[in-house]
Symmetry: C2
Subunit: 757 residues, 2 copies
């Protein structure tokens, strides 16, 4: 891997800290210092405005716009891009002294420090401003998003004159006029406003967004307004050595319902504004309690490696900020709520990379992710029809359930989102035992998925079933036949669904499920079941018994070979430097494909198979996807390749903090930081959740003294502490549970058990 870190933050176990200002990394910092509470997210831009490079981004989960692209007008090609739209700068602030407006791109300042505390979710920034007139002021900016009341956001500014007493003029406001960066366009129309609130409607979709504020300050307030802006001008009489505090509480309200009456949106917003605008310190305190509770359940400690300790906590903190199952109909965008890259769309990463974190810390949130797919089943059915198929085809990229990927080769040829939904259901039920879900929504989803897989697959001239003209997870092999991943996942899906339907039929006829599946009462006939059975049996999985290698797709082994280590570093990322077609015609891969299904169905493969395939595919992989390193690390750990496992982990866990991929300015890699969590738990912890019982085979990098993690399983909180010599398993809360440790079934209780490693 030709990935090099770009470290500039201070290391701290519970915070990220920037000392001094790094204007060349201003947007990287904005991403890293972003806050979110699932409902809303705000980048770490400067409250007071900044004329340097900056993306003033404020995003709300599920608030999106759409755009129809020009391009190929063929059937089944999606030309509608849905994108999480930039909304309102609720932190809008301008500060003037002696006619000079503070702007860190132009003003003289010193001693800048900003920090984000994972134990409170507070972002704090301070510096000393020296005006042209020679006045010095210490400024402290604080901001918070309430974890308790999702609509609530708070800003506080403390101004301390150091060498004078006198007037400081501030403008605080709510600014709906900011552009959506990706299209350099503002997408809001203001429909109502008064001194304290503004209601806007998004231009194409018509999403309603209410923003209200309560400004607090010991100063005269003069209301201000502009087309898409409301604000207040404050004259603060600042006293030398004394901190004057101003701030505002803000409510951002939406019902995510474009048909909601505007009056109702206004009234509800105003009610929230009156109810919830409490003081900054109260919100800070409530957040501390929230995060303290969270860390007690979900912390990972690493002893002896401050770097990765900070990295892994940053990952967990960001995951929890982005998604925790509170918002109806939310999913997890590839950049969370921290930027516009990938347009806020969710991918198959949700089921394959993010789900485990929630399955083992917050099962309700995990279920909500699967419910999201159930709620968007009608869109998936429509999409399958667009593709001349039956059943349900889930989108490669989406916000509202509709396919939003306008690159047809991805949208029309990648089916891992669909098999991932089935995998997610299987995984969820396997871990939680929630058969009620399986009997109802689960089986309906599964039947529709099988119908899609049956209709999209084809029989080859030589009598094998498989998928033709597909792209697997590895996007460097664009259009291939019999991709092993696609075929294997489809085979397992058929087998799982056949088992589910046969189990259900012992208790209740599986007609129930299939009736729901079609809405109109069409049942899954015996003919259909037999067809699926036959397809599963005859599914072609390219495999060489002698070498134990799965062939990534038919013909992969005969592709021209390229030595990925010989590619000059300046050629990366390849999509920017290589002719597009050149990427697609050799045995180089972007991310795990065969190794991906070896990871997902880990227990179904022998160590020899894992070793052979790891040794073959890892050297061909350039990890251009941020999802790649963790999966490799987990398999390396299982194979006893400890140094490799550790190297991949370091990269995965600090991908954003050290900006390994040089694109953190676009937002954080939310779904790949979910993988960093798996990297500890599945990788070093050796946890496996694809068997009948949860199992662990811990190992530890030699660089560490010890590490610990916790998982919630069958209602019990299990703590795992691993040192260089032993692993201790203990139930912290709930009933004793049976798990397998290093191959042996054991009961873990509050006293704990210790195993030598």
């Amino acid at each position: 891997m030709a990935k090099v870190s770009d470290k500039y933050l201070c290391v701290d176990p519970w915070k990220i800290i920037e000392e001094g200002f790094h204007p060349e990394r201003s947007e990287v910092s904005e991403s890293l210092f972003s806050l979110a509470n699932e409902h809303q997210g705000v980048r770490g831009f400067f409250d007071e405005g900044y004329s340097g490079t900056s993306l003033t981004g404020v995003y709300l989960n599920g608030i999106f716009e759409e755009r129809f692209t020009e391009g190929m007008a063929y059937k089944g090609i999606s030309n509608r891009l849905a994108f999480m739209v930039n909304t309102v700068n609720w932190l809008y602030t301008r500060i003037e002294v002696d006619g000079e407006t503070l702007d860190l791109a132009r003003s003289k300042f010193s001693a800048l420090r900003r920090e984000l505390d994972f134990r409170s979710g507070e972002l704090r920034r301070e510096f000393i401003w020296e005006t042209k007139s020679g006045k010095k002021l210490k400024l402290v900016f604080q901001r918070l998003l309430s974890m308790e009341t999702k609509e609530l956001a708070c800003q506080q500014i403390r101004i301390t004159p150091l060498n004078f007493s006198g007037k400081v003029t501030l403008t605080l406001g709510l600014d709906f006029s900011i552009p959506h960066r990706m299209f350099d366009q503002n997408l809001w129309n203001c429909v109502r406003k008064d001194d304290s609130a503004i209601l806007c409607v998004s231009r194409n979709i018509g999403h309603r967004l209410f923003a209200g504020m309560k400004v607090y300050a010991e100063a005269k307030q003069t209301p201000l307004e502009a087309e898409k802006f409301i604000g207040a001008r404050l004259e603060v009489d600042a006293v030398e050595g004394h901190g004057s505090v101003v701030g505002k509480s803000v409510v951002l309200h939406t019902d995510r319902d474009k048909d909601q009456a505007l009056d109702l949106a206004w009234t509800r917003g105003m009610t929230l504004l009156q109810t919830y605008t409490i003081k900054y310190d109260e919100v800070l305190e409530s957040n501390r309690l929230y995060w303290s509770d969270f860390w007690a359940k979900s912390d990972i400690t690493i002893d002896g490696d401050a770097d990765t300790q900070q990295g892994i906590r940053f990952c967990i903190f960001q995951m929890q900020q982005t998604y925790r199952g509170v918002i109806e109909g939310a999913n997890i965008g590839a950049k969370g709520l921290s930027g516009e890259a990938y347009n806020g769309n969710a991918f198959w990463d949700t089921e394959t990379y993010c789900l485990p974190f929630y399955l083992f810390s917050n099962p309700a949130a995990a279920k909500a992710l699967i419910d999201y797919r159930y709620k968007t089943l009608p869109q998936a059915v429509a999409r399958a029809k667009d593709l001349d198929c039956e059943g349900a085809c889930f989108p490669i990229a989406t916000i509202d359930g509709t396919e939003s990927c306008t690159l047809w080769q991805h949208a029309s040829l990648q089916f891992q989102p669909t098999t991932a939904v089935a995998y997610g259901i299987w995984h969820y039920v396997n871990v939680t035992g929630d058969t009620a879900f399986l009997r109802a929504e689960g089986s309906e989803l599964l039947v529709q998925i099988c119908r899609f897989l049956a209709s999209r697959g084809q029989w080859s001239a030589n009598g094998r079933f498989g998928y033709y003209a597909v792209m697997g997870p590895d996007e460097f092999q664009m259009m291939v036949n019999n991709n092993a991943y696609t075929n294997y996942m489809a085979k397992r899906t058929f087998e799982f669904v056949l088992k589910v339907l046969s189990l259900l039929s012992q208790r209740e006829p599986h007609r129930g499920a299939s009736q729901r599946a079609e809405g109109e009462g069409e049942i899954v006939s015996d003919i259909e079941l037999k067809k699926w059975q036959h397809m599963a049996e005859k599914m072609f999985i390219p495999y060489d018994a002698e070498t134990k290698l799965y062939e990534q797709h038919e013909g992969f082994f005969n592709l021209p070979h390229i030595d990925v280590n010989a590619i000059p570093v300046e050629d990366f990322p390849l999509y920017h430097h290589w002719s597009y077609d050149r990427i697609y015609r050799n045995d180089m891969i972007k991310q795990p494909d065969v190794l991906m299904f070896l990871f997902l169905y880990n227990g179904s493969f022998s160590m020899d198979e894992k070793r052979a395939n790891y040794d073959y595919y890892e050297p061909r992989c350039i990890h251009e996807s941020s999802l790649s390193p963790s999966v490799h690390s987990i398999l390396a750990a299982e194979l006893g390749r400890h140094q490799e496992a550790f190297d991949f982990f370091r990269f995965a866990t600090r991908i954003d903090l050290d900006n390994y991929n040089r694109n953190t300015h676009e937002g954080i890699h939310t779904t790949s930081i979910a993988a960093a969590w798996m990297n500890i738990v599945y990788g070093f912890g050796g946890m496996r959740s694809d068997g009948d019982v949860l199992s662990f085979s811990p190992s530890i990098p030699e660089q560490w003294n010890g590490y610990s993690f916790q998982v919630t399983y069958h209602g019990s909180l299990i703590r795992v502490e691993v040192s260089q010599s032993k692993a201790v398993f203990r139930v912290l809360g709930g009933e004793p549970v049976c798990v397998k440790v290093c191959g042996k079934l054991m009961e873990v209780n509050r006293e704990g058990i210790s195993v030598e490693i």
Copy 2:
């Protein structure tokens, strides 16, 4: 083939005739009745305006605009579309009687007849108009493009009152305000005008186009003008029973030079206008002489089948209208100058489908087509660089030599244009023996082509050379490895160039060629020659010796099979009715691919091979390309499948007259009608031009009494007359020539020889 004719024209050996008006086919007729003289083309729209469905299209060879499409912004992806732009309606006419304006969509009329005469290139239309006031007038419209003076166009209108004498008001003009249909946008700015002329500049490229007119009428003329329009209003005192004639001569002048001084463009245009505006009848007479001379050399007769006789003459007439090697830098657009589909771009059809017609009737025009590629070599070198390759890559679609296909999968994956240029050179030299060209421009082109082929090809893991991620001629297999056509053509190209360079080196060092090739004196080194030799030797041509089948690409034989005859007729064209990806994943093919190289290098394959591959691939082909039937017909004739050969030919030769593909309204299928000529000469005539000497093996469909065709070969005009029992070969002009007939070498002279068949 599920192709059904839509016949509505009268059958005539020398004309196309429409009796009565078919408004539902108005744009089909506009295409069929289009005129061209290579410099300019005009659709058969109504002079007097028509408020029904119509495309008022006037196009000039080489006058294009450009448009940059949104879309994928990856390296090597061409986002610039060049399109032959709609220009000036020089036929603009309005006719008023008693305040009623003639409009065949609204007016009462009868006895409409229009005809296009292949012996003069005149389009004549007549009908009787009955005004609301009860007046009846006979109107005759005639138009012509001069074949002698390419800038000259003539319009004549004869008005005969049948039941009154009185005023008829006409407006005649030059109208630059017509929209380009494809983008519904006018693309001209007027820079100068007076009463008789108007000079416009195209909006983006800046092409200059001068249009001047001389109106003749025995009536008072009042000048008119509007923003992009000049005209004259005429008051004609029409007399019952007496035909009043009005008309105009028009000059359309361009130097195809966007940098030409505007004054110069104006002056040159005015000079032409003064020189060339002669009377209609003189131009008609000159055109008759031109066409009489042409038909004497190039006619094909079919005795006993009026349908195909009309069809083949229409094809030959349209070919000659579209291209005859007069315009510097012109090529042959897929729709000629008759419509906007394919944007006036030229494809690989030029060398593979059109070149033979010119090679055997007008070798100078054939050479001009190859010169076109030489002149655009710099663009092809730049394109290769875009694709991270060396040498020259010729565009899949182009007007000015730059790649103009914005569908990346075609532009980046299809290399038949590049191998077709080499094939064209080889074919040209083989037929003409023009080694001077080969030594100079030819070898320079060939060296650059080989460099591209060497750098784009790759060595597989098992030591074979070939092309990965390509699309062959069959566009239904989008992205495959080792397409047999691509590999075979590349192999033959290497072999040809190695031979050429070795022959040249005996007379003069081939450095000469290679120095020109690089401009800077880089020579073709021995290392490079050896590399090409090695690639040619190790080129992987998928072939099964037992079945004698070439596999269209690696893995084709294992693709899912689809019975193309079971596809419902209403599913065609598939691109409109099938999900885009669905087309690309079975063994259905759109057009010949293996059969294409079996046709191009016909003499290199045994009859057994041709039979086996024809029997395998023809049933899998849906002929969705109009280029398909002729090649199948030619091979069917060779294999003695006479009925099949005849059926394919009927389709090929009347594709537009009977609107088989239901898209003639977009323009005529210029390059596929070139294939209809090959269908007679190579198919039934059994001519082969890929050997050392020209050969013939005539056969005759049982439906015909006889047929004849003529070819110019080594300066001699050979006439071939075939009846049900014999074939007669005779030299009509020039020296006796040696040809092979039915395998036997013979000298053909003016007395002729007769062979039983």
